[in-house]
């Protein structure tokens, strides 16, 4: 039995489809990522799986329980962390944790071992009101609160959005720890670079899953040669490359442009010569291996 099984789920808001025929399965103890930009349908999918929303069509089960029929069972065994910080800001750190333990009939003491690594970091501030915590600490508290009742499956909706880089890394380390203790985790994120931290990812766009695989495999399957190019005038470079007849795609990535050619045969000399003709200075160009974002862009183009 899969921990999460989704079959042909579809959902529309006023005739505008948010999810189109989504199917996938998540193994027990897997860290599964839903990767996609805003509006891809990640939150809608999470809300359906956590029984907050009813799908228009399709079925889904969590640990064998149907999300519509057995919603009561599911609410006992899952933990859901919404994208928005949704703990009581006027309650202290400890009061929040105690409340969320109590309503599941649990106590902090009996499940302390589950959250020890996370909670111990914010425990010195346990009398502080949740609203007065920093962004990273809020995330830790929220994670503690959804873990305190020992859920079998954890749903996290964009847990790292709006959190600084250091806290993001820390947060993912915590997720790995939780996963190692056997909890199934479904996490959504708009950050492509976080995909490699998951066991498997589903790349989502416009309510559809474009690809599901291990992040490594997705990268390996990237079929094209890829070059990073940089010159002194990046904006003109982008325009010029878009105007180049052999160009397939060109996207800005940080300080470089990522370039693929139509024939999948990049002649670096030819491109450099073309750019020199266009009076570009300080041309840097090298072949690179693709990252998830390149794969995402390629998939997006295919669809």
């Amino acid at each position: 039995m899969k921990s999460i099984q989704v079959n042909n789920i579809g959902k529309s808001y006023h005739q505008i489809p948010a999810l189109k025929d989504i199917s996938f399965g998540v193994e027990k103890g897997e860290l599964f990522g839903l990767i996609g930009p805003d509006g891809a349908g990640k939150t809608t999918l999470l809300r359906i799986l956590t029984t907050l929303l009813i799908a228009d069509k399709g079925t889904a089960t969590i640990e064998g329980s149907d999300v519509v029929k057995d919603y009561k069972t599911i609410r006992r065994i899952v933990g859901y962390m919404p994208g928005r910080f949704s703990l009581y800001q006027d309650l202290s750190v400890e009061e929040n944790l105690k409340f969320f333990a109590a309503i599941f009939g649990a106590t902090i003491e009996e499940n302390y071992h589950l959250i020890k690594n996370i909670y111990s970091q914010i425990e010195p501030f346990k009398t502080r009101k949740a609203g007065k915590l920093s962004g990273g600490m809020k995330q830790k508290l929220a994670l503690s609160c959804v873990m305190i009742h020992k859920p079998a499956v954890l749903f996290l909706d964009e847990p790292t959005t709006g959190v600084d880089a250091v806290s993001r890394t820390e947060f993912w380390e915590m997720l790995r720890d939780l996963k190692n203790s056997g909890i199934t985790i479904l996490v959504s994120t708009p950050y492509m670079d976080e995909a490699r931290l998951c066991d498997r990812v589903a790349l989502m766009q416009n309510g559809k899953i474009m690809n599901i695989d291990k992040p490594q495999r997705i990268i390996e399957n990237f079929s094209r040669r890829l070059c990073a190019i940089k010159t002194k005038n990046m904006y003109r470079l982008l325009k010029d490359l878009q105007g180049f007849q052999k160009t397939n795609t060109v996207y800005p990535f940080g300080e470089f442009l990522h370039y693929t050619a139509k024939e999948n045969d990049i002649d670096m000399k030819e491109i450099i010569k073309y750019l020199e003709q266009k009076d570009h200075e300080g041309i840097e160009m090298r072949e690179i291996t693709a990252n998830i974002e390149d794969c995402f862009m390629e998939l997006m183009n295919k669809n």
Binding site: T50, T51, L52, L53, I54, Y71, K72, R75, R76, V78, G79, Y80, M81, P82, R84, F85, S86, L87, Y88, Q89, D90, L91, E95, F99, F100, A102, I103, F104, G105, C145
Partner: protein, 372 residues
């Protein structure tokens, strides 16, 4: 039960932490009672009268003396010019002009009848009505004496005139605060019930905690009870506190059984909290909830008979009051406190409000859905 206990515990911690709510619960009844009871009075004093005496006769002087002697009137000017009098009214120096035309006494003597004119500033219709009633009754009183004096058969006249004597039961001195305090208490309890409870539930939606709560084993009814019960308790406490203040500040009579009053209040609060729940279930932000609550509160209170008697409202308005819970509670509160009514007297109100509570709570719970 345990789950409800946990929600209650959380609610009371939050209420205690709220910097506005707790002080307001103490300050609100005191201020409302002190200000509204003293300020919102229907007694007219210091009616500013301009006397336009064109006759300057013995009779006119007698009439004027009647007004001079009255504690309700203040003669601010005394002229024989229409223009002056009108100016006083126009500049809001006078509330009323009493015009005694020339030849008043002569006409009275010759024709046995004569006219005086009263001109009232009716910007405020209520005040104007009161001034008219006061002034007319003083004139009528004088008129009666005059007839008795002038006719040759005073004995006969006395025998045919019907004398009305009155005594005001349940509020013998027509003490305004006795009438107002119970009403203000109702206002207080209702405000806590509707506004605070609806805003409290909507707040969970607004800050997003409802999402988190919904993915827990908390059941719909547990959440609702946990959210509403604190305000049921607080409102009853406020009623007690308000009664206590009314007793020590205004010495209002408490003739009836307080237990009965609280019993009625507890059922009444169920209906009121049901309205609060209903409002919260159709709104998503505290601002919306506040606005809608206020809309209903204003209508309920103005229609309830707190300030104006229900009996003098048009028939359709009285029908509306059938679904106005505030009207029931105001009537019952006054009946119990001033009249000492017992359970048998308010049985009809009791049943009505109980039915009301059942209907509105069912409607609200139906509307309030845990899942979309």
């Amino acid at each position: 039960m345990k789950t409800i206990g946990h929600i209650l515990e959380k609610e009371f911690i939050q209420i205690r932490r709220n910097r506005v709510m707790l002080p307001m619960m103490i300050v609100m009844p005191i201020v409302q009672l002190l200000i509204l009871v003293h300020a919102a009075t229907f007694e007219m004093k210091h009616i500013r009268m301009h006397i336009l005496d064109l006759d300057k006769s013995g009779i006119s002087r007698q009439i004027i003396n009647k007004f001079k002697g009255s504690p309700f009137y203040e003669i601010i000017n005394f002229t024989a010019s229409d223009a002056d009098a009108e100016n006083d009214l126009l500049n809001n120096n006078a509330d009323v002009i009493l015009k005694i035309p020339s030849d008043f006494e002569k006409k009275l003597a010759l024709e046995n009848k004569a006219k005086v004119q009263i001109i009232i500033n009716a910007i405020n219709a209520t005040t104007a009505g009161l001034i008219n009633a006061y002034t007319s009754s003083i004139l009528a009183d004088y008129n009666k004496n005059l007839i008795a004096e002038w006719t040759n058969a005073p004995a006969l006249l006395k025998s045919i005139s019907i004398r009305t004597t009155y005594s005001f039961w349940y509020n013998p001195e027509l003490n305004y605060s006795n009438f107002m305090v119970p009403g203000i208490l109702v206002l207080l309890v209702t405000m806590i019930g509707v506004i605070m409870s609806s805003m409290n539930i909507v707040r969970e939606k607004e800050i997003g905690t409802i999402e988190q709560i919904n993915v827990t084993p908390i059941k719909k009814y547990q959440f609702i009870i946990g959210k509403l019960l604190p305000f049921w308790i607080i409102a009853l406490f406020e009623l007690g506190f308000g009664l206590f203040l009314g007793k020590i500040l205004f010495n209002i009579p408490i003739v009836g059984n307080l237990g009965l009053l609280f019993a009625f209040a507890s059922v009444y609060l169920l209906a009121i909290l049901g309205i609060g729940l209903f409002i919260s279930s159709v709104n998503n932000t505290q601002q919306q909830a506040m606005f809608i609550s206020w809309f209903f509160m204003v209508i309920f209170i103005l229609m309830s008979g707190l300030f104006t008697p229900v009996e003098s409202m048009p028939q359709w308005a009285q029908y509306i009051n059938i679904i106005n819970p505030v009207a029931y509670f105001i009537e019952v509160t006054r009946m119990i406190l001033l009249k000492g009514s017992g359970l048998a007297d308010i049985k009809k109100h009791f049943v009505s409000i109980a039915v009301y509570a059942v209907i509105i709570i069912n409607l609200a719970v139906f509307k309030y859905r845990k899942t979309n």
